[in-house]
């Protein structure tokens, strides 16, 4: 079985995005930490588990982005993936899911993957589009928010269980090839073993360069303006030392008769 897992590298959620001068995008400082999108880590783990069950399975990783994303691809190799593909673009600008799914669809063209896994969404932009769009472009079925996945032996299909709103579930069989958007909680991602870390050191990440100009042409939606998010509640921020804040909080809750 040939599996592809699409991953994205995301910035540390505690880092601060700085709005650019044109107010059309935001950038992160030089010292920002980046790591694999949490949902994608679950997707990689799920791919590796299938490989353990079905001999002869290969697990490829693909990601689109600038030089920095190499470390995320490397991490997947350390977890145990077989090959890493880096669709390199020298830009930190907005790249729409529509474009990303086109690029990956093109990449998939000759690869004959049986199963494509993605995270259900990225933690930073939360669009959840690249996976389903990719499936549509490849003409294959897809399911999002998947909490259980098993391969139905010889039948050329998988059984998935989706998590619906309010925690309801829906299971179904999908004919392969298919794409699955993985939800957190499906598994516990492994820590890389020492032997895999050593192996990954010697595995080359295969880089495919993309033309920046190509990306503009097919661009669809654009970010016109970006601003600090508005507030739903007029919250007050407590000031002072830790002990002072604790005392103020106690008093405020007392006044509300909550204590």
């Amino acid at each position: 079985m040939r599996i592809l897992t699409c991953i994205k590298q995301v910035p540390d959620p505690e880092s601060r995005p700085m709005i650019n001068q044109e107010k059309t995008w935001a950038e992160y400082g030089e010292y920002t930490s980046y790591w694999i999108n949490r949902y994608d880590e679950h997707a990689v783990e799920e791919a590796l588990r299938i490989r353990e069950m079905i001999p002869g399975t290969t697990v490829d990783i693909v990601s689109i982005g600038p030089e920095r994303i190499k470390s995320a691809i490397r991490r997947c190799l350390e977890m145990g993936a077989d090959r890493g593909f880096h669709l390199f673009i020298d830009s930190e600008d907005y790249l729409s899911p529509s474009i990303k799914s086109r690029l990956i669809a093109e990449f998939c063209h000759d690869m004959k993957y049986d199963l494509i896994l993605t995270g259900v969404m990225s933690e930073d932009m939360m669009s959840g589009q690249t996976g389903p769009m990719l499936a549509a472009r490849l003409g294959i079925p897809s399911a999002t928010s998947v909490m259980k996945l098993s391969v139905n032996g010889l039948e050329g299909s998988i059984q998935v269980e989706r998590e619906l709103d309010s925690g309801h579930r829906c299971s179904m069989d999908l004919t392969l090839p298919a794409l699955v958007g993985v939800q957190s909680g499906i598994n516990r991602p492994r820590y890389p073993s020492l032997s895999n870390v050593m192996r990954a050191k010697n595995t080359e990440i295969i880089q495919i360069r993309l033309e920046n100009s190509l990306l503009k042409v097919v661009s669809c939606e654009t970010v016109e303006k970006i601003q600090e998010a508005g507030s739903d509640r007029a919250g007050i921020r407590l000031e002072g030392t830790t002990a002072e804040k604790a005392a103020v909080l106690w008093r405020m809750l007392r006044e509300k008769s909550l204590l």
Binding site: P132, A143, S171, T175, G185, G230, D232, I236, R237
Partner: protein, 320 residues
């Protein structure tokens, strides 16, 4: 410039769900400006006569649409677009909507915006608002000529409290069969948690508690209050710190206690949707820009490992 707007009804067993009115409210905002025609589309196996207020209704009726499948809904929506030729397609951002909306956009060579929370209209152009960068920033998107599919966050566009005239209903009997999807089965796991349901105060732990050992102080904090319970964000549950039946949010419990204390929770839209009706919200987070503070009445920028012990100390002082 007039164009038609298509709304995909959210349905359950052939009945139109209330969130559909919110989609019509969103569509109406656009339509008021552009003199557009609104057509709602209802895929399903429809046995009773139906209509919808504020829009015409196009029923795509087929035995193969008796229950939701991504494939079936995609085919029904494509069939409807041939009839309606919409410029904008509006879908609810639910586990149904986000499952097929991006596919539909790709197949129509259009673009897609998910979790849209607002619309801004200036002159001849419309911008769509959604949040990004871990919920810290609001982004306004403009779109070109291509067809646009948006998924709208439930609750973002309140349904009008008056009933508009129902439009005309038209039924297309189609033969839509999912070919690549089979054995579809729905289930409802038992996630009951009476303690949480009855709690007046909920102290919730997020990924920011860092380790299972810190649950102790979350429990201690909860026990400062009468009728209290502990809960968690999805990550806290995924990490095995909190039981899944105490997960608050879109895929967990919806709670509205007198007091909700969020400890080390970032405030993702999916979490907020489960606790935003709490009377008072207190948040403890070391990131001054964390999105949770936008939904809080009392904001405490602190490391919880320092702050919670300080609070417990304070509580002790008053006890003795």
């Amino acid at each position: 410039m007039s164009h038609s707007i298509m709304i995909m009804c959210e349905q359950s067993e052939g009945r139109i769900l209330a969130v559909t009115d919110e989609l019509i409210a969103c569509a109406t905002q656009i339509a008021d400006h552009y003199d557009s025609r609104l057509t709602a589309v209802l895929p399903g196996l429809i046995t009773e006569p139906c209509s919808i207020s504020g829009a015409d209704l196009l029923v795509i009726n087929s035995p193969g649409l008796a229950q939701y499948t991504c494939e079936g809904w995609e085919k029904a929506a494509l069939l409807a677009t041939e009839q309606i030729k919409p410029k904008i397609i509006i879908i609810a951002h639910t586990s149904t909507g986000y499952d097929y909306a991006p596919r539909l956009a790709a197949l129509l060579e259009g673009c897609c915006l998910t979790s849209v929370s607002g619309i801004e209209i200036t002159g001849d152009s419309i911008s769509y608002r959604r949040s990004g960068f871990h919920g810290k920033l609001d982004l306004l998107y403009g779109v070109g000529k291509a067809p646009l599919v948006i998924t709208v966050l439930p609750g973002a566009f309140p349904a009008p409290d008056w009933q508009a005239e129902p439009g005309i209903t038209r039924i297309i009997d189609a033969d839509i069969k999912p070919k690549l999807t089979s054995h579809v089965q729905f289930s409802i796991p038992d996630q009951s948690n009476t303690e949480l349901d009855h709690a007046e105060v909920i102290v919730a732990a997020g990924k920011g508690i860092g380790q299972a050992e810190n649950l102790l102080m979350i429990r201690d904090m909860a026990s400062c209050f009468k009728r209290s319970a502990i809960a968690g964000s999805r990550v806290a549950c995924d990490n095995g710190w909190i039981e899944y039946n105490a997960q608050v949010g879109l895929t967990g419990k919806k709670v509205s206690p007198l007091l909700y204390v969020a400890c080390g929770i970032s405030g993702s839209a999916q979490h907020i949707s489960g606790m935003k009706d709490s009377k008072t919200v207190v948040s403890i987070n070391r990131d001054p820009e964390a999105a949770i503070f936008r939904y809080s009445d009392i904001c405490i920028v602190e490391d919880l490992e320092k702050f919670i012990p300080a609070f417990l100390q304070e509580a002790k002082k008053h006890q003795s």
